[in-house]
């Protein structure tokens, strides 16, 4: 009756969002008197044991070379087989690109349903209730899944992974039964911009808006980001103008982010932008218009010209963090 948690690996490394999901699930499992079983595709035995440091009692280690690259049907079928073997009715996974693609296929396979992109989980009257933003963050709903089988995808960076304890999970290897048909859809490879942090995974983000006035001024954003070890983001106006790639767009038609620190430079704070970043823990805005809506959500603001303020901020932080 354990809770299954699907983790994700990239180049053999377990992604942080997977540890966050284990930690969140362990809390729920504790309240429900059960345990967490992590599921790990690929990676090594040490990674499988390491799941214990975040609260998993056991790791089911999927060892099948055919699953080295993502294939949604094959992954869904594998997880269904593990859930059956473990008697697990509840499956949690990060709401990453992979998790969001996999969860619906799994839900139908398991004859259950999904609570997607959840930002809070509470156990009430013996049932798991999930809280999630809707209407681009303009409202929150608390939902429950009425089918026996329940799948939750958890928004990355919202649940804390904490620090790993020395505990080790028991490890069990698992070889799924799959046919060629299960690989009707398969990944033939990924293309990842090297050395660049993605906004959805970054702890800190520095984003620029139209106030930067042109692609040629992006060194202001990049310099500040590099001092903070931050990913760079952008508003849609900037992406539409072709100054930055769409992958950096934060907002309703871009990515949803929840970093510890979000710095908005020359961004007005339109509702569609806020939709993507208002769950950031600390928001800093620099804008020359004191009435810009971004100041309504910012924790700290400086009214001023980005061309004066940002270089000064970068210098100050450089000294401070040295």
């Amino acid at each position: 009756m354990s809770i299954l948690v699907i983790t994700e690996t990239r180049d053999g490394q377990v992604k942080k969002a997977g540890y966050e999901a284990i930690r969140a699930a362990a809390k729920v499992a504790g309240e429900m008197g059960t345990e967490v079983t992590a599921v790990l595709f690929g990676a090594d035995d040490a990674a499988a044991k390491g799941m214990g440091g975040y609260g998993a009692a056991k790791t089911v280690h999927v060892t099948d070379d055919r699953l080295a690259l993502y294939a949604n049907s094959a992954y869904a079928k594998t997880i269904r087989q593990i859930a059956e073997k473990e008697g697990a009715d509840v499956v949690m996974m990060p709401a990453t690109a992979l998790g969001k693609d996999l969860a619906p296929r799994l839900a139908v396979q398991m004859d259950g349903a999904i609570a997607p992109d959840v930002t809070d989980l509470v156990v009430e009257s013996g049932d798991i209730h999930a809280v999630r933003p809707v209407y681009a963050g303009k409202a929150l709903i608390k939902i429950k899944i009425n089918s026996v089988k329940k799948i939750f995808t958890l928004r990355p960076n919202v649940f804390s992974a904490g620090t790993a304890s020395g505990d080790e999970a028991a490890v069990e290897a698992f070889a799924p039964e799959l046919t060629d048909d299960d690989f009707a859809t398969k990944s033939t490879g990924t293309s990842i911009a090297s050395g660049k942090l993605d906004v959805t995974e970054a702890v800190n983000i520095v984003s620029g808006g139209r106030g930067l006035q042109g692609a040629e001024n992006w060194n202001l954003v990049e310099d500040l980001a590099s001092v903070l070890g931050a990913a760079t983001g952008a508003s849609r106006a900037v992406v539409d103008a072709g100054w930055r790639p769409h992958a950096e767009q934060v907002g309703q038609t871009g990515k949803t982010v929840s970093p510890n620190l979000y710095v908005a430079l020359g961004i007005s704070g339109a509702i569609q932008h806020l939709a993507g970043m208002s769950s950031s823990k600390c928001i800093v805005a620099v804008n020359k218009d004191k009435d810009a809506p971004i100041f309504q959500v910012a924790d700290y603001g400086i009214v001023g010209d980005v061309f004066d303020v940002v270089p000064a901020l970068t210098e100050e932080l450089k000294t401070f963090l040295a």
Binding site: N72, S73, A76, A95, A97, L98, K100, D101, A103, P104, R105, A107, V108, G112, I114, P116, R132, P133, Y135, A136, G137, K138, A139, I141, K142, I143, K144, N146, A184, K186, S187, T188, T190, S191, I192, A193, N204, L228, H246, Q252, T253, L261, Q272, C282, I283, V284, F295, Q296, V297, D299, Y300, G301, I302, G304, D308, V309, A312, L313, E316, F320
Partner: protein
């Protein structure tokens, strides 16, 4: 080519959301509804595929009460051939997918397009649910798509830090991401023609909704932030606050 495009009828992005009297859904009064922005990429993908093949039919599919006909007509005005209106109140992603899958099962779709998410419930799940229910492949968040004459295709989907290429074969369900194409604007002639294009009404067999809203609320209002100061002079104080008060650096 038998092409279906699932569209969603959603409040305009700038709508002020108020919780309705039932405490579970929004108050619809004064809300303008639009064709879900991501679904415009899906409609465009369907039209382009038909044009590339030089044959076929594009059907706009929508689950909802009478008012959604308006949204189906927007797809028809862009150039789709006909509509399929599943007359039922959508309550959750699972039930909506069930109703669509039931309606499409006997229609032998070659491809079903939808948007990556609808901007009301932001569920990101329709393509996968439909794919599994119809027992055909699915690809979500496709920002690029190339379909060969034999129906094999490669889609590039956005993932963290880059993209992933997925290969598969039609029939399939594909959800559209911004970047897939530039949706066309309906022309006046298209809008006039849309009024005469057929929309078939179907009553779904009873189906199950599995996710229940217990309550809807407004997110806690953040106190308007602290303006630390003006210009570069405020920088020192900002850094101090980020360290000592917010503890983020």
């Amino acid at each position: 080519m038998n092409i279906f495009v699932c569209v969603s009828h959603v409040p305009d992005t700038t709508t002020k959301v108020q919780v309705g009297g039932d405490g579970k859904t929004i108050d619809p009064s004064g809300v303008t509804y639009i064709l879900n922005p991501y679904d415009e990429y899906a409609v465009e993908a369907g039209l382009q595929l038909k044009e590339a093949r030089g044959e076929g039919e594009v059907t706009i599919v929508c689950v909802g009460p009478d008012a959604v006909k308006e949204t189906i007509r927007k797809g028809l005005a862009m150039g789709a051939d006909k509509g399929l209106h599943i007359v039922s109140e959508p309550r959750d992603g699972f039930g909506t997918a069930r109703a669509i899958a039931d309606a499409l099962k006997d229609k032998a779709p070659d491809v079903v397009f939808c948007g990556r998410q609808s901007i009301d419930y932001d569920g990101w799940q329709m393509s996968g649910l439909l794919g599994e229910m119809l027992e055909i492949p699915s690809v979500s968040v496709a920002a690029k798509l190339e379909i060969a004459d034999d129906g094999s295709f490669a889609a590039e989907r956005d993932i963290e830090g880059g993209s992933e290429t997925i290969t598969s074969k039609l029939p399939a369900v594909i959800s559209a991401q911004k970047g897939l194409n530039d949706p066309r604007y309906p022309k006046l002639q298209g809008i006039m023609q849309a009024k005469r294009k057929p929309i078939e009404d179907v009553e779904p067999a009873p189906y199950e909704n599995r996710v229940e809203v217990i309550e809807m609320s407004k997110p806690p209002i953040k106190e308007a932030g602290k303006i630390v100061g003006e210009g570069p002079d405020a920088v020192k104080e900002l850094v101090r606050l980020l360290h000592e008060e917010a503890k983020v650096i």
